[in-house]
Symmetry: C2
Subunit: 162 residues, 2 copies
């Protein structure tokens, strides 16, 4: 039981660090792009697209929650409710990660059929920050998925081990 508690404690702290890294990488995703042919400079940043702002907010929430939940006493009955909150946060992370991944894929590759050119060649630093943030955020998602599966496993024995 103590080993199991230490394991979930470790997972939550790793989740906290991963989502904090994701939030920091996103918040610093900003770069100026100069188009020399028309002599125009524009700035691209995470705040251009709603899905990156969502990803930032979700990562900040998960980071704070992952840290704070460890302060709950081990014998509290509230740990039962924590399973539901974990499941919700996992879904929020999955959704916001996928939305951001979809957007960065479009920003990287463009969409030939819509006549859109990729912008990662022009703003590589911005794209690297976004991709790093999504990778870290997916780590957070995997951790919450493991926490949910561990909870279901403890309760239900879904693998039907005798």
């Amino acid at each position: 039981m103590a080993a199991k508690n230490q394991c979930t404690f470790g997972l939550r702290i790793t989740g906290c660090v991963a989502t904090l890294s994701a939030a920091l990488a996103l918040a610093t995703a900003r770069q100026s792009v100069h188009f020399s042919d028309v002599n125009v400079s524009i700035q691209v940043g995470y705040s251009d697209l709603m899905c990156y702002m969502c990803l930032l907010v979700v990562n900040v929430i998960v980071c704070v929650y992952s840290f704070a939940i460890n302060l709950l006493p081990k014998k509290s009955l509230l740990w039962r409710s924590v399973v539901v909150i974990d499941a919700m946060l996992m879904v929020l992370l999955a959704s916001s990660n996928s939305a951001a991944l979809s957007a960065i894929c479009l920003e990287r590759n463009g969409n030939f059929h819509a006549g859109w050119r990729g912008i990662c060649g022009l703003a590589p630093q911005y794209c690297d920050h976004i991709i790093g943030a999504i990778a870290a955020s997916y780590l957070g998602f995997v951790i919450y998925m493991i926490l949910l599966l561990l909870a279901i496993n403890n309760l239900l024995n879904p693998l039907l081990v005798q």
Copy 2:
């Protein structure tokens, strides 16, 4: 117990219908666009973007699963494993829905900072199909979320009802 079984049966059949509708709407999302100024016609369709193809595949899988799982005998121990599969499918639906939503938002609004124009004005029928598919698929997601929360509620009493 019988009422609870009927409730989950009803939810699964609704999920089956919702994901089937989403798959059909997506599979028929295709439209020719004519640019009169340069006299060029292109065809936009769901297969242009990977995220729409993912959404189609996930919806077909969930549709078949939602129907087939009702054939499992009520007293089978395998219902314990079904909770885990439900959770996985819910995450897949959440992810593919969000990715598609993010892409259709970009296709609808464009991205000013990347110099992308929205294409929904040119291909309204295509966009309507995609948006309808995403809405139906979100209904499927909500149903699987409810199924998971019902399962957790039965096992854990997370609201601490005396």
